[in-house]
Symmetry: C2
Subunit: 416 residues, 2 copies
Amino acid sequence: MRQSQLFTKTKKETPKDETARSAQLLLRAGFVHKELAGVYSFLPLGLRVVNRIVAIVREEMQSLGAVELSMSSLQDSNVWKSTDRWSDASVDVWFKTKFKNDTEVGLAFTHEDPLTRMMKGYVSSYRDLPVFLYQFQTKFRNELRAKSGLLRTREFLMKDLYSFTATKEDLDAFYEKAAAAYSKIWQRVGIGSQTVRTFASGGSFSKFSDEFQTVCDAGEDTIYLEKDKSMAVNKEVYTDEVLKELGKTKSDFDEVRAIEVGNIFKLGTRFSEPLGLTYTDEAGKSHPVIMGSYGIGPARVMATAVELFNDEKGIIWPATIAPFDVHVVELNPKKDAAISTEAEKLVKELEASGKEVLHDDRDLSPGQKFADSDLIGIPVRVVVSEKTMKAGTFEVKERNTGEVVHMTMEELGRTT
Amino acid sequence: MRQSQLFTKTKKETPKDETARSAQLLLRAGFVHKELAGVYSFLPLGLRVVNRIVAIVREEMQSLGAVELSMSSLQDSNVWKSTDRWSDASVDVWFKTKFKNDTEVGLAFTHEDPLTRMMKGYVSSYRDLPVFLYQFQTKFRNELRAKSGLLRTREFLMKDLYSFTATKEDLDAFYEKAAAAYSKIWQRVGIGSQTVRTFASGGSFSKFSDEFQTVCDAGEDTIYLEKDKSMAVNKEVYTDEVLKELGKTKSDFDEVRAIEVGNIFKLGTRFSEPLGLTYTDEAGKSHPVIMGSYGIGPARVMATAVELFNDEKGIIWPATIAPFDVHVVELNPKKDAAISTEAEKLVKELEASGKEVLHDDRDLSPGQKFADSDLIGIPVRVVVSEKTMKAGTFEVKERNTGEVVHMTMEELGRTT
């Protein structure tokens, strides 16, 4: 893609109303635009990163045998009244609105309740189970304060997976498979070595849930990380009683800050019972369906990666979720038309070998172009200039290490 | 994909609260689920159709040189006050809600206003123009009545494209390119020969706009279709004055019902002026940016295709937007395990040749399976049974014509 077509521009000033480093960088580099406190639009660069995260998550959901659907954002109050979650006293993040006839409706902050009701039309026998469903759908949460930029927003895309099984044993088995898929996702998006499965409160659903916490000073959560980094315990359940149950003592843990990038819940019959989602077993006996839910917010993953990987010059994207694979930067194209021609040829070669390329074809100074490239943070930068053309090789710089090598077009096609 | 994994079931009963044939069929066949009047969730089959339409539309947007982004659903009231579109008197389809601190926010019914404001950060010179942006994003419209099923809903995905140009001439040229892209889209999704460019009111933006209307008795609009079917005039502007301007007379037209599947507007400076989106020309003089907007609702296109293509047995999908390319139906798999093995082999062969396949592996009667297959409406049905295995060929039926032929696996791989 030509950078002249991208329309966004980088900004030198740090936005005054953002304290999170990730929000500052993503705004300055033109990945997102702030509409309201806690509400962001995704510009082409940001949308590309989110889409790459979504594609990785989708692959892992398909590997679990889950099927994709898309539930509505506007929700029927009746279903939430059945589960006692409609009042602001029970759920403090509702956005509500009204039809013209004054019928009150909710904006989805999650989808367990309407999905459970819907499944009554499709599940009646043990033969209909298990079912695993997921979606990528907007969630609206009326947060009292929105102060961590992209890490906690009032409107965000969420991947939510739901399991419907006949027995608790089937839930337990799928839950561990889902946890393993989550670990694989953190590895694939590049935050695996900082992310740890964490014992957390199960809320009203069960004694415990599992969170996946990425250790990072910018995090809103406090967790206790085992010294060997194999697991952690959220502050909210870090009690003598829980530690005893886990066979651990406080000396095993260090207190750290962390970002919750995913969470998984054993819902049991919390929703199936009040909503009447039941199945009949082989003997003809009726039981409530056993449920689980499993969430990931792709934009929060994006912001977490930026918190972890940046320097004073800008973002350093993990290769798998970068908006582009290679940034081809042509210098002084107005001086010699052959430079643009050479850059275009290189872009075509790289694209033919399966790379996504951003081509800086703008008429700006080399200094501005290099600063933009460092800020945007594409893993590999290739310079095409009068000098490189004379040398017969390209100047290839790795954003992460800063290492510069010189390569021919053939070498580049093979190695980037 | 295995049909046993799909979880949805077809329904025999026609939903009592739906009058549109498309909604009845899409609900019965398990493409969508109704959450509220005018609010639908998309089940796996429906999501697949929408995604195929989206993919076609996206290709055509990219061909226009447009770049994809994604704006927020929650919108700042201030921007709408600047353009005098915040009050319910000026816009009668608003859904509004509130932050915890009582700040009123809107749910996007369209995105011209916040997008125009955002572009002030990126456009200042003639060198920054033109810019063409598009998104696939949910729109919320508080319709007084929702009575046409999927044809008019309170929440729907929309592709909206926006053009920002320096001059009216640049707008006119892009507008015609966009109109041509729209015509190509109707052809590609299979509704081209029923869809006609239609003169319509330009509302508060300009004298005329162009609608793309699909001739269909279920449509909510009345249009006057020229006898040679090359163009049409919407009832709202079907006056002697307009006909004179077009050089036509009433005898040239027939009155028909139609569904508006797309519309394009020359916005001019309607938004750029009040919001102060300006550019400086080469002489240093400031001008408001000239805008256009271009919409398509993929789910309405889906419902329109169903209105056009169905029979008493169910839906007949155009091949390009069908949820799957081939429906492999195995009969009596419990009777002989070799039938399932053969069906699986066939599915793998077809998938290897690039086909998307739904494999009916369920233990149901042949009658039930055939009825489901006709209702769901995948273009090609292939039966694998004891009989076909003896014959050494598969029974291949075209959903559209009902024509049955017998083919070997090799022939199938080449022809479907």
